[in-house]
């Protein structure tokens, strides 16, 4: 099978153009394999990223047919349409070259939105007793396996509309911390999440949950934050 791959090429400051490659494909490789083949055999100067190859690092995500996906775990047969695949870098992040982006702004938002643990007792010798069935632990567990690939935030219409919005990945992380009894910052974190650009900016479109390759549901985490913030406000704690 010959697949026509159309790649948006160019750097941040340079002009972007769409370049077409006709690639012979045997078997059912992944989109990452396809991009690797193009770089190796057709365009040695093509820019793209990957690291772990198996869905653990979150560096190979890009727009595949306009939709953010990990390329390492997306098979060509799943996405090819009429023999054609369109590839572009993740939106709203600085393009380093072609399909490779600089993810620093994504993590800066994560950090400034309150996605960093603050220990209650950093030199504690004991481990906090938290039973696996504890409702807050279950909330934290449901959201904790995020690998920071930026797929959800790239898919989010609100993040596209409002550059000040923290976005689903950061809010999802904040929700795990709000449910973490070892964290010292609960109230401040909640206040932050209830403020401008926080959980109340989420419109529950659910694109984040539909796109998350890990099956996480950041929309639910944002809803949890809104509920917890409202409750805290009622009790005069916000």
């Amino acid at each position: 099978m010959i697949v026509t791959v159309v790649i948006r090429r160019g750097g941040e400051r340079g002009r972007a153009e769409r370049v077409e490659f006709r690639v012979p494909v045997s078997g059912d490789p992944t989109v990452l394999d396809l991009v690797s083949t193009i770089q190796r055999d057709h365009a040695p100067d093509l820019g793209y990223r990957f690291s772990c190859r198996v869905g653990m690092c979150g560096s190979c995500a890009m727009l595949v047919q306009g939709r953010p996906r990990w390329t390492c775990r997306t098979r060509v047969s799943l996405v090819v349409r009429r023999g054609r695949i369109d590839l572009a870098p993740l939106p709203r992040l600085p393009v380093v070259k072609d399909l490779a982006v600089d993810m620093a702004p994504f993590f800066e938002t994560w950090t400034s939105a309150g996605g960093v643990f603050r220990p209650r007792d950093r030199s504690a010798q004991e481990f906090a007793r938290v039973t696996p069935g504890d409702p807050r632990r279950r909330e934290a567990d449901a959201a904790i396996e995020c690998i920071g690939c930026a797929v959800c935030t790239s898919a989010c219409a609100m993040a596209a509309a409002d550059p000040g919005y923290a976005g689903p990945a950061a809010l999802n992380r904040v929700w795990t911390l709000v449910n973490d009894e070892r964290d010292a910052d609960g109230a401040a974190r909640l206040a932050e999440a209830a403020g401008p650009g926080g959980a109340f900016s989420c419109r529950s479109h659910g694109a984040c949950a539909r796109h998350c390759p890990k099956g996480l549901d950041p929309r639910r985490s944002a809803a949890g934050l809104r509920r917890a913030a409202a409750l805290a406000a009622l009790r005069g704690r916000l």
Partner: protein, 572 residues
Amino acid sequence: MNRLDTDILILGSGGAGLFAALHAKAGAPDASVTVAVKGLLGKSGCTRMVQGGYNVALGPGDSVERHFRDTVEGGAWLNDQELAWKLVETAPKRVRELENDLGCFFDRGPDGGLHRKAFAGQTFDRTVHKGDLTGIEIIGRLAERVWSSGIRRLEDHRAAALLPDASGEALAAVLFIDMRTGAFVLARARAVLLATGGGPTLYRYHTPSGDKSCDGMALALRAGLTLRDMEMVQFHPTGLLAGPGTRMTGTVLEEGLRGSGGWLLTGAGERFMERTDPRAERATRDVISRAMIEEIRAGRGTPNGGLYLKMSHLGPAAVRARFKGMVERCADCGFDLAGGLVEVIPTAHYLMGGVVFAPDGSTALPGLFVAGEDSGGVHGGNRLGGNGVADSTVFGGLAGDRMAAWLRDAPGFRDPDPARLDEARARALAPLRRPGPARLADLRERLSSLMWDKVGVLRDGPGLAAAVAGLAELAGELAETGAGSGDPAFNLAWHEWLNLENLILAGRAIAASALARENSRGAHWRGDFPGAGDLAASRTTEVSVQEGAMRVALRPVAFTRLRPEPEPEGGR
């Protein structure tokens, strides 16, 4: 060429690099600390790929002494016992730090205390974990803290050379390529940590991140340092065999599949492990990997040259429930792990060997420190599952502490030897002035086949000698090949050339060390020397580059804490 000065410079952003950065910053708050990484911070590297967990003696009935004995016996008595002791002694402190200071939320047992699971080769259930994604939890928390701690980040920066000062007696600077622009960056630093991770990606089948290319080991060899135990390459039995055209090939299917009753089958559908070991598929990684290669070489493999892993006899629904992540991963590349057969092959997983170092991270070159997979001696001839992430976090933290203290007495910034700087720049630029990026894929293919066939799971003298010659030939061919004259900005062909240069150098160190070890120990198996030799007279290999050639010395192991017991009369 851009220039910058930083008191402490850390190469690598896995568990070792990030821990070192945080400890260095805590120990010297006014110092400038910089983390440089070839890819993105926290994403490039293998700590985040850790599935299993973290070995630590915490439970009632367990002890640091017991963890130590398991580590040394697992290491076939070749460990530097002071390093192994430092590992097990510091692990309990480090795991508290991970949980209570950094916020890793490890899994709990029914009583609310830390859950500890059983792991192969250990006499106690001591592996702390977060599901089967322990590494993501650890790196996620470390990276968040680093982002918010005033630590400078140099992402997409490849270290091209370690540069001593003009006296040659101390490290002065690191030469980088800023991959985004292609420009050189000269970073002077008062202390430098090598923590790039090893990563045996020079084998046809391998598990580590594809961007790892033994960079730290190659930098160290070129800087004149000695590496030990380089023949010790750990192979994991169940790598996915998904065909030559996909990067999925070689990625690891977790040990628990065999542990829970999975079968390995020949191409004809017959079990074979029972013939080799009474533990059958539950035998250790090295035993199974050898038996698998023997089956394949005897012509009993699958059409694609592997073997089958079968889980369906345990009930497809049960397999799907228990190994969700693995079932999904296989499905993504077209295999039905729960109900069908998956083709597998042993896959290169970890380099036990690395730079000779002291427990505080220091090396023979003043100003240079090392931690994690770039270092050697902690694990001896074989690493226990769960000791890898313990190693990187324990020794990364200790090196960070030491570098912070080192600043108090260390001299100020020094200039690198101008001749060495010029030479390093010329060497890095050379491939951009020669045509031929199309040949790089062929060179990588030949390197990975050579290492697999001659320096792999089963080795012998003639094969290793052929590998030594073949690697020299590949090095020569690479030197005549270029990466084309393209724009140096984010030029992947250029970086592939530089990766290959490092991998070939590491391969030469592995092959030379393997040829020098004339017995079968740990992960190293010589068909022409199948015995383990006298344990009490154990020796380790030490390799360095002298006048362009690999020189290997054998050095007796110092049993500073534990001695092997004499074999009973008549052997085992």
